[in-house]
Symmetry: none
Subunit: 421 residues, 2 copies
């Protein structure tokens, strides 16, 4: 069964707001096993809205509209959808009572145009709005279902969960269940090449890759009667992915980010952590500290942007700075040792690099970054050459630093050598 999402609103066409409703509805429909091939946005214009609804009804089984149910004159969605479906509008007494109660509760007077919201297409299913005044509507014509939802996410979401999900579930038995394998340290092209044979022969489950900054996510999606069956179908594929990507996989959990995976590893191994950031200037710390519970391992951070700060705060030696420069393997190593010593931590990360746009040279171009990881006395330094603008270089450095932390912890505690399975 196919679904199509049609969002109505001039503020979307002007780019004043981001269309989070479309993403929400799409994700929910996918998890219900509905296939979505089209999303559209049109403004509050009768002619274009009429055409968009007709087109959608002609090619999809379910059409979900959001927005344009408000009390003002330029809210046209209900009137237009009813006209396309050949239905008259009638006063719905229950909606009228609900609107009266809503205004009474707030101690304000309903204006005349509020009653417009209690008009519903003949024979429609009316969905109560517990968070606003516009009721939702479900209409059916032959085998096509049209769902009208209010635009504000705080009204749309609870109404969808409560009323639309059961309606759609009843239309099509079976579910779609996705699991994500998250990889860091392998590019998207390389990952796709490593997966090509699996992707070429996929049926159920399907496999798709998504590039995220510095990461690749592989989504494995099964169609089955229930979640248990779907998990069973996904299992051998996830096992195969684990064997192909080994320790480059940092999680198979939907809600685990790279920084959370690293914090979890530190907590599990009771590691205390400090860091010394130069070009990333606090971004690594900010990502780690955004993980609730990070305070158990993250002890202290130093942002040593200047050479003087590197010497004064971290004890980097003047001759090292003079001989090799601030962006060098040697300085990265001394920074990591210095950060660890300044706080007697088990583990420390140091990042020094050239984020640009200025400061690059032929030998040390913009994007050159050294990352050092101190782990209980031993320091590992990696050299990177990142691309893009200042922000992108700094983001790449942070992701690479997190991945280096992960590798160093895994190597230290599980005695594996990274990259080998």
């Amino acid at each position: 069964m196919t679904v199509e999402i049609l969002c109505v609103g001039t503020e979307l066409l002007l780019g004043n707001i981001v269309n989070t409703n479309a993403a929400y509805l799409a994700e929910k429909c996918a998890s219900l096993g509905l296939s979505c091939y089209y999303q559209s946005v049109v403004g509050d214009n009768e002619g274009r809205l009429k055409e968009a609804i007709s087109t959608a009804m002609g090619r999809s089984d379910v059409v979900i509209l959001s927005g344009g149910l408000g009390p003002t004159e330029d809210d046209l969605t209900k009137e237009t959808a009813a006209a396309v479906m050949g239905k008259k509008l009638v006063m719905d007494e229950e909606s009228k009572d609900a609107i009266t109660a809503y205004f009474k509760k707030r101690g304000i007077q309903a204006t005349d145009n509020n009653w417009k919201q209690a008009l519903v297409p003949e024979g429609a299913l009316v969905l109560t709005n517990h968070n606003g005044t516009a009721p939702g509507i479900i209409m059916r014509k032959d085998n096509t279902h049209v769902v009208l939802l209010p635009g504000p996410p705080g009204e749309l979401k609870p109404m969808f969960e409560e009323n639309v999900v059961p309606y759609l579930e009843a239309l099509e038995p079976g579910i779609i269940y996705s699991q994500t394998v998250k990889i860091c340290g392998v590019g998207e092209s390389k990952a796709e090449t490593m997966l090509k044979d699996l992707i070429d022969t996929q049926t159920n489950p399907t496999i798709a890759t998504y590039a995220k900054p510095g990461e690749v996510h592989i989504r494995v999606t099964a169609k089955a009667d229930n979640e248990k069956e779907a998990k069973k179908l996904n299992k051998p594929v996830i096992k195969e992915l684990k064997s192909r990507f080994g320790y480059d996989i940092y999680t198979t959990e939907e809600d685990v980010t790279l920084e959370k995976a690293v914090v979890d590893l530190m907590l599990a191994n009771e590691l205390s952590f400090t860091c010394a950031e130069s070009c990333t200037g606090g971004m690594l710390s900010a990502r780690l500290i955004n993980v609730p519970g990070a305070s158990e391992c993250y002890k202290c951070g130093f942002i040593t942007y200047s050479n003087k700060a590197k010497r004064k705060v971290l004890g980097v030696k003047k001759p090292t700075l003079q001989k090799y420069g601030a962006v060098s393997e040697q300085v990265a190593e001394e920074m990591a040792n210095g950060a660890a010593n300044a706080y007697k931590a088990d583990m420390a990360i140091a990042i020094t690099g050239i984020a640009g746009p200025d400061g690059g040279s032929k030998e040390k171009p913009v994007g050159l970054v050294y990352i050092a990881c101190y782990m209980k006395g031993k320091v590992t330094v990696q050299k990177f050459q990142f691309m893009g603008n200042r922000e992108k270089i700094r983001e790449s450095a942070v992701t690479s630093a997190l991945n280096l932390m992960r590798k160093c912890i895994l190597e230290y505690f599980s005695k594996v050598t990274f990259g080998k399975k």
Copy 2:
């Protein structure tokens, strides 16, 4: 002239990502004076993509597509758009060289599918991608213009600014010219109330407000024959806004962010700066250091997340921590003094608060944040109660800290009292 936005990607149809590209492109096109009546999303499917491009070309003058330019087999946008326009694909030597250089710089081997990205439609305008491997494309057929952009926002945005804006500007004589007045420390509702009479009577230029995290941007947009004329139309309105909002305006420059305004103020007054971050954990530093040239004033930062770090690194007194708790006016003040002393800086910011989700109490609820600003011996402390989740609270704290820095510099050097004009 009309524009239509067509985003390509299965991950959008599945709701895995929110379509921020559509909002970005819509806002930019609106500011260029183009009318947008339709936005659509389709997946990486040749038949549906072909149909969507044909439909869009039939009803809009400019069609902007994003996504589906990657190296993999399911990236079809370029091939399909070229087919719809009746153009052959040819190898673009310049793009090939750029891709070679991109991979060489990273010291990795290009895979065979990477060369697919150097194929371009005959006669097309090729847009260099400085932040990735997929070049952008502009094609023209009669009076219809089709623009293909890469999907990652970090590639799409700079390419749009650099190449597409001038192209679109050249298509339509007369210009739309916007200037933005950026305000921090005044809520959107209050700003709207202060502007109501101006908005109600606006014609040319128009005035619109946009809420940004912790900020309000007022956009003044004139339609005129040329930039000079447009600026002349905007001038009296901007003057009026300056008189109404006074020092709450931090800039009237399009490309000046709040952090850049603060860094510029520090540089202009030759101030050296340090900071001590607790709950924001590096986010303030990261924003400041993202401003090129920040190293001239930003000297050193301390992320003192634990009480021990506050004592050891900043010299916060144990009795102060015990008596008032880590989240208190007194500790914020000692942190700011400590950060300034640790590096003999002219100015220091300290942030301590409860970002949640845990750690709140009745007296000190989640969202309570103290921010202290040390300025040449004098410390100003402000108390805030922020709302929202952990990330939002931390972001609000950073924006408020930047605004406090701005106020303290202005008060110190211009002897103005903040809030008075």
